[in-house]
Structure formats: structure tokens, C-alpha cells
């Protein structure tokens, strides 16, 4: 539609209005450089969003790659049994401590060496590996072995402490999942009930009153919810369940408050889905003698399933990415536990704690939070895409 108008408007009408009838008029579309320039500027603005995504993917990917290819030197409890010169390729490393294998890269002083063969503590090496300078080393110099973080270790290790070479994301992952599960247990029933109430039961006046309240609830900054979790929910849980059961920092209070935070999101998205169900379905159900509850639960909710499921998935993604509540109330140290009343640290909480203050670039901490960030980004992005697909594919369209 607009295209036709665009073409029509681009013919030289100015000339016609100016009264130059006798001149032969070109009906060819004139190039308008100003218009084209503006279009390019606008298009570039649109591209910024692509650049943001590319930037996120590139930086997270790059630093994660650094994380997984980073060479870490670990103690072998071995020392040189005799001093070695620059041209010596065999030395005695003793038989105690860590077992060295051919192919390993070791470090003696500042020099890296690649092991060719090992027999009874005598190690034959290729000197000056990885472009390090070859030099002589005195007796008693410590030998370090190199190690990289493997994906298997990353996803199956149960301890996370980069400073001492423990890189298992499981403690961060389990606490994230526990907090999110608690959050969903709170927000799903409540959010859906509110949605059903608003779309099926509430009078216009009640709706006008309740919806802004929920909007306010969703507009409150998360750090305020964090304060709420720490100063209200935790003392409440401790008062109800006992101070020896619930610790000061615990996953339960964080999870409940994250749940409260996402109630408005679940309820408003579900309500949109419920309201979109055509009136005729309700009337048909009533006409068959169904009660209001039967209509709501057996006709309207099933008809709106795609929208409700999408809302749930988005809510899960939001709960996983939620940061300040967990940073304040869940704890400050990775902890592999399934007890919701004990402290732990989620992925987001860990990133915030590590990056607060001056984190130095290229340190193991810096690289490791990007690896966690990449994982987080991947999980939330996947959930969001799934939710969009659910809406697209399973939406029931009514005439």
C-alpha cells in the first residue's frame, strides 16, 4: 500500500505546480539523496541491536574460550634432583609426588618443557616449549604441571573455587535451579489464579484497581526485593521454622521473593492469553450448564494453554537471570547442597560478587565469570526462543 503512494509522490509534481507545462517532464523516479540518507541512518539504528547481540556473543565466547584454553600450573610436589644446564634434555625429577606422562607440558622455573619420555623418575624433555627462554635451573627448583579446564569438569565438578583450581559449575547450577523452582512454585499458582480471577471473575472496577497494583509490584527495583528478602522473608521463615533450621542466608527466602517478583509477569501474560479466548466459548459452556469454575478451568484455560505455557517459560528464564535478590539473601559462597534453608550461591550471585570491585582483566576470576555468563545467556536465550515458538506453534486461532 505505502509503496504505491511512495512512487506516486516521487514523480516530479513540483514542476507541474510551477506551471512549466511546455517543458518535457521526466516521469522517472527521482533520486532523493536526503531521503536515502535518512533511511540509512534509521537502518543503522536498527542494526545496533544486532551489534549488541553479536557483541554479547563475541565477548562471552571469547572470554569463555580463554577460560577453557587457559593453561594453569599446578604443583607436582616434585623438584629437580640435580641442577640442569641449558643444553641438557634429560634430568632426574625423583619418583615421589605427581606422575608425569609423555606429552605433558611442565614448567621448571620460567621455562616450559614438553615431556618426551619418562623412566624411573628420569625425564627426557624438549626444552623451551611454548616459546619460553631456555636457561639453566639449580637443584631443588619446583616442577609444575599444566592443566586445562575441560568441559566435562566444568559441567560435572561439584566444587567451584577458581582460585584453587576447582571449576565445577554444579553448585552454582543447583542453587540457581532450587531458587528458580521455589520461585515458580510461588509464582505459578498465584500468578495463574490472579489471571483467572482478573479475566473471569473480577468486575471492571476491581480490575481497574488491581492491575495498577500489580504493575507497581513489577516496577519495583529488584534490589528493593532483595532488601525485603533479607529483612522480612528470612526473619519470617526463621520465626516459623526455627532458627536452627533456617540459616541467615538461605535459598528459600530468596526463591520465595523471586517468586513474588515474577507474579505480575505470569499473571499479566496469562491474563492476556485468557482474555484472548473468544466470548463465544464461554457462552457455549454456560449454555451447557457449566458453572463458572468449570468454564474457567476446563474451557478457557485449555484454550489459552499456549499463552500460559509461554508465560511460564519466560518466567523461568526471568527467575534464572534474577540477580540482586539472590545476591543479597541467598549467600556468598558456592555450596553444593539441596537443602533450601542453607546458604549457597547462584550463577548470577557469583558473577556479581566476583565482579564487584576492581576485577583484574585476564585473571582466572575474570575468565570464569564470562564462562558462567555464556552458560546463563545460552540457557535464558533458549528458554525465550522456546516460549516464542510455543506461542507461534500451539496457538489456537478462533474466528
Amino acid at each position: 500500500m505505502t509503496q504505491t503512494f511512495q512512487e506516486r509522490s516521487s514523480t516530479s509534481q513540483d514542476d507541474v505546480l510551477a506551471g512549466s507545462y511546455n517543458r518535457t517532464k521526466s516521469l522517472k523516479k527521482r533520486r532523493r539523496w536526503g531521503e536515502m540518507f535518512i533511511q540509512v541512518v534509521l537502518f543503522t539504528s536498527g542494526l545496533i541491536s544486532i551489534l549488541t547481540t553479536v557483541g554479547i556473543a563475541y565477548e562471552l565466547g571469547k572470554e569463555s574460550l580463554n577460560f577453557f584454553t587457559r593453561q594453569m600450573w599446578e604443583q607436582t610436589n616434585k623438584t629437580l634432583q640435580s641442577s640442569i644446564d641449558a643444553d641438557q634434555t634429560e634430568f632426574d625429577a625423583g619418583t615421589s609426588g605427581f606422575t608425569l606422562n609423555p606429552g605433558d607440558v611442565i614448567r621448571v622455573g620460567d621455562e616450559a618443557m614438553e615431556i618426551q619420555s619418562v623412566s624411573q623418575g628420569v625425564v627426557s624433555v624438549e626444552r623451551g616449549a611454548q616459546d619460553t627462554a631456555i636457561s639453566s635451573h639449580p637443584r631443588g627448583t619446583e616442577i609444575f604441571t599444566s592443566r586445562r579446564v575441560s568441559l566435562v569438569e566444568f559441567f560435572t565438578g561439584t566444587k567451584w573455587n577458581p582460585q584453587i583450581g576447582q571449576f565445577g559449575i554444579l553448585p552454582l547450577l543447583t542453587s540457581t535451579l532450587i531458587v528458580s523452582t521455589i520461585a515458580m512454585l510461588v509464582s505459578l499458582p498465584l500468578g495463574l489464579s490472579i489471571a483467572i480471577y482478573l479475566s473471569e471473575y473480577a468486575t471492571d472496577r476491581a480490575r481497574r484497581l488491581i492491575k495498577p497494583v500489580l504493575e507497581i509490584l513489577s516496577g519495583i527495583p529488584t534490589v528493593v526485593y532483595g532488601y525485603f528478602a533479607l529483612t522480612f522473608m528470612t526473619p519470617l521463615l526463621r520465626a516459623i521454622l526455627g532458627r536452627d533450621v533456617v540459616e541467615v542466608y538461605n535459598m528459600a527466602s530468596g526463591g520465595i521473593v523471586v517468586g513474588i517478583l515474577i507474579i505480575p509477569m505470569v499473571s499479566s501474560m496469562s491474563e492476556d492469553a485468557l482474555s484472548a479466548v473468544p466470548r463465544s466459548l464461554r457462552e457455549a459452556a454456560y449454555g451447557m450448564g457449566a458453572t463458572k469454575l468449570e468454564t474457567a478451568l476446563r474451557v478457557i484455560v485449555p484454550a489459552a494453554t499456549s499463552g500460559i505455557v509461554a508465560a511460564f517459560i519466560v518466567a523461568v528464564s526471568r527467575a534464572i537471570g534474577e540477580t540482586m535478590i539472590v545476591a543479597l539473601s541467598v549467600g556468598a559462597g558456592p555450596n553444593f547442597t539441596f537443602n533450601p534453608f542453607r546458604p549457597a550461591e547462584t550463577m548470577t550471585g557469583h558473577i556479581v560478587r566476583i565482579s564487584g570491585g576492581d576485577i583484574s582483566y585476564d585473571s582466572i576470576d575474570y575468565n570464569s565469570i564470562f564462562a558462567i555468563g555464556l552458560f546463563l545467556f545460552f540457557v535464558t536465550l533458549t528458554l525465550n526462543i522456546i516460549s516464542q515458538q510455543v506461542v507461534k506453534r500451539f496457538r489456537e486461532v478462533y474466528e
Binding site: M1, T2, Q6, R8, S9, S10, R32, Q39, V41, L42, F43, S45, G46, I48, S49, I50, G55, I56, E59, E63, L190, S193, Y201, I210, V213, L214, G219, I220, P221, T222, V223, V224, G226, Y227, T231, F232, I263, P264, S267, A285, T291, K292, L293, A296, L297, R318, T323, M324, L328, S355, G357, D358, Y361, F370, G373, L376, F377, L381, L383, N384
Partner: protein, 422 residues
């Protein structure tokens, strides 16, 4: 569609004729739905009350030296002459080596200093009132007997005062390690600077992108990718944006974000962890929201306006600039304000970008170090002492007031817009 008459748990094809039971279940369902909604509203009320509860209440104040002991010849310090006050100050403060007195003198001579200021110094440095215990507003209002009993038992020398942690002084004094005199001035200024950068960055870009997508973009795969991408970006956790800001703005673009490229060398070197980095990071964060909201507003402009404009021979940009934008503007502004208020409350990305943990000077350029209100709240909440909880609550009230004002503006805009169009 499932048949409601076949699913009553009594097997297929049967018809639940027990109307009373069905109605009872219906009634019960309604109660559950109502209760859920009430719980949601109660959660909000409790949240607000919990904050107010901490922001006001009785405090027990104990003086280092009781003011009565400082009285000279029976004249209390409130009425003493300035020279006597200076004398008291010198007598009592000089124990610390006299450095403080010399600092006061170098700031302003005693002759030039007004009496009130000297009096304040005496109170602050000599009397040194310190808060030794605090109570919540609820206890202060309803359990005053209990408070007085606790006072008598624990702090016999202290006096009980009603303290509003949120007051004018709290707004205008900078950050301090001492919670009793700490304020949010630095944090408010930091928030305003950051948000100004965010608006300057995200608003023009967001609106341009929305115009492109709604008015120019055809059904081309690049445009579809842009649209999908924007929708996905809106769901990325905010902390990821913080990491983007840290990696690109703070680290890679350090010469620009630290101001070095413009010849500005801040003595308090912020290494790219500046207001500029923070503002742009938040800008990237709210950009998808601004775009989506602006798109909705532009979509809502009736097509007849565009057609009329084209019919008059206007070019596409003339149509957009003269007809579409003016009509969509209130909607665009409403959406932008709501997005910006989200940015004001964001904490996590700024922590990652590198907000300062403690600064007492006002930010004065985009290349200054910064702290913001939410950051301040976060740091104060994370400390175990009660007084920090109190000032955190007061700071939350400031933040909520700021957000409420912004949202009110958005609502007013929306209403005015509606009226004009009907």
C-alpha cells in the same frame, strides 16, 4: 475441546447431576482465586510497610561527653559565646594531635566562621552523639514500654529520640562510613548523570530503530532478523549486559570511556569504570524495550494519516516527521519513561561494569567514577549493622519516590493522549 460432562471422575458419559456439589466447588474456586489476588496485593503492602518500618523509629543516642559537662559557669553550650565554643573545641579535640583543629583553621579562620558552624563542630566532634540501638517504627508506636525497659537495662546513659532516617540532611550529605551522617547526595547525582547518558544514547537510537522497522522495513530477511533479535534481547538477563559493558565499554573502549582520548585525565583515575560506561550499558539494556514500546505507539497511528500525507505528495520522511511522529509521540514518551524507570532501578549490570563502592565527591563529568542509588542500597543492605538497614530503607524510599514521580508523568501523558484521540 474437552467435554465437561465427561470428566467428573465418575467415568465417561456420566452426567454429574449433583448441582449443589458443583456450585460448592465453584464457590471454593472463586475463593481461591480471590485469595491469590489478595495475597499479591498484601505482598506489595507488606513490602512497603517493611521499608517504612525501618526508615523511621526510635533510636538510643549516647553522647561521648554529655553536653551538661561542657557547660561553662552553668551556661549550656547552646547559649555559650563563640570564643568559648572554640575553646571547648580546642580543649577536647587536640588530643588527636591537633591536626583536626589545624584543618578546621585552614578551611576557615575562627573569626570568619559563624557561631552556628562552630556549635555544630562542638556537637559533632566533642559531644559525639552515637546511635547505640535502633527500633522499628512498629515497636516505636506500639511497644514504647518495652523500648524504655530495654533502654534502662542496656543503655542507661543514652537518651531516646525519634529519628526519621529519611530527612533533608540525608538527601544533601554525601556518602560516609558513619551511617548516622551518611547521605545519598553522591548516589542521587550519580543516578541522574547515568540516566542522562542513558536517555541521550537510547532514546534517539530506539525511536529511529522503531521508525525504521515500522515505516521503512519491508519483508526482508535482515529486517526479520532485526525484529526477532530485538524481541530476544528484551529477555536477556540484565547482568549479561553488565558483562558486555565490562568487556567492551570498560576494557576495549577504555581510552574513550575514561576520557583519555579527549585529553581529560581524571586524577581519581576510573579506568573506564565511568558514568559514560554505566550510562551506555543501561542504554543498551533498555534499547529493546524502548524500540518495542515505540513500535507499538507508531503502529497505533491510523493509516489514513499516512495515506493522506502521501496523497498530498509528501515524501516518506516528510510523512513520518510531520504526521506519524507527532501522533505517536505521547505513546513513545510513555514507553520511554517506563523503560528509563527500569534503568534507574537496575543494580546488577552497574555492579559488573564497576560502580565505585565508596566515593564522597560529586560526579562532575561523564568520566567521573560513580555510584547510584540502587548500588548504595545494595551496599548498605549487605552490611550486618542495624543502622545500615535503616539508611538503606531511607534510600529505598528516595528511589521509590523517584520512580513513582516518573511513572506518574507517564500515566498523565497516557491519559492526555487518550483524551485527545477520542
Amino acid at each position: 475441546m474437552k467435554n465437561i460432562f465427561q470428566e467428573n471422575g465418575k467415568g465417561q458419559g456420566t452426567f454429574d447431576t449433583n448441582l449443589a456439589a458443583r456450585h460448592r466447588r465453584g464457590k471454593f474456586g472463586e475463593i481461591v482465586f480471590r485469595a491469590s489476588t489478595t495475597i499479591g496485593i498484601i505482598a506489595l503492602i507488606v513490602l512497603i510497610l517493611n521499608i517504612i518500618n525501618s526508615a523511621f523509629g526510635y533510636v538510643a543516642i549516647e553522647n561521648q561527653i554529655p553536653p551538661e559537662d561542657l557547660a561553662i559557669n552553668g551556661i549550656t553550650i547552646e547559649k555559650l559565646h563563640k570564643t568559648d565554643l572554640v575553646y571547648i573545641l580546642k580543649q577536647n579535640v587536640s588530643q588527636g594531635g591537633g591536626g583536626l583543629i589545624r584543618r578546621f583553621e585552614s578551611e576557615m579562620t575562627w573569626e570568619d566562621r559563624p557561631r552556628e558552624e562552630v556549635y555544630d563542630l562542638v556537637v559533632e566532634r566533642v559531644v559525639e552523639p552515637t546511635v547505640v540501638d535502633t527500633w522499628s517504627l512498629y515497636d516505636s508506636l506500639f511497644n514504647k514500654d518495652k523500648i524504655q525497659a530495654e533502654m534502662a537495662a542496656d543503655w542507661p546513659k543514652a537518651t531516646l529520640e525519634f529519628e526519621s532516617w529519611l530527612d533533608y540532611k540525608f538527601l544533601v550529605t554525601p556518602q560516609s562510613p558513619d551511617p548516622e551522617i551518611a547521605g545519598v547526595r553522591t548516589a542521587i547525582l550519580g543516578s541522574l548523570w547515568t540516566i542522562a547518558i542513558t536517555i541521550l544514547f537510547a532514546f534517539p537510537l530506539g525511536v529511529s530503530a522503531a521508525i525504521y522497522l515500522e515505516e521503512y522495513a519491508g519483508d526482508h530477511f535482515i529486517n526479520r532478523i532485526i525484529q526477532t533479535n530485538i524481541n530476544n534481547l528484551a529477555g536477556v538477563p540484565s547482568i549479561i549486559y553488565g558483562m558486555l559493558g565490562l568487556a567492551i565499554l570498560v576494557r576495549t573502549l577504555e581510552p574513550i570511556t575514561s576520557g583519555a582520548a579527549f585529553g581529560i585525565t581524571d586524577p581519581t583515575t576510573a579506568n573506564g569504570r565511568t558514568i559514560l560506561s554505566a550510562g551506555v550499558t543501561l542504554g543498551l539494556l533498555v534499547l529493546p524495550l524502548i524500540i518495542i514500546n515505540a513500535q507499538e505507539a507508531i503502529k497505533a497511528v491510523p493509516n489514513s494519516l499516512r495515506q493522506a500525507s502521501y496523497g498530498m505528495g509528501a515524501t516518506r520522511w516528510q510523512t513520518v516527521w510531520n504526521h506519524v511522529l507527532p501522533n505517536a509521540l505521547p505513546g513513545i514518551l510513555t514507553g520511554a519513561i517506563l523503560s528509563i524507570s527500569r534503568a534507574i532501578g537496575e543494580t546488577a549490570p552497574l555492579v559488573v561494569v564497576g560502580a565505585s563502592t565508596f566515593i564522597t565527591f560529586d560526579p562532575n563529568s561523564p568520566f567521573s567514577k560513580f555510584t547510584t542509588l540502587p548500588i548504595q542500597i545494595w551496599q548498605w543492605t549487605a552490611r550486618p549493622q542495624d543502622e545500615y538497614r535503616n539508611i538503606a530503607a531511607a534510600a529505598i524510599l528516595v528511589l521509590l519516590f523517584l520512580l513513582l514521580t516518573l511513572n506518574a508523568v507517564a500515566v498523565i501523558l497516557r491519559n492526555r493522549y487518550r483524551k485527545e484521540n477520542i
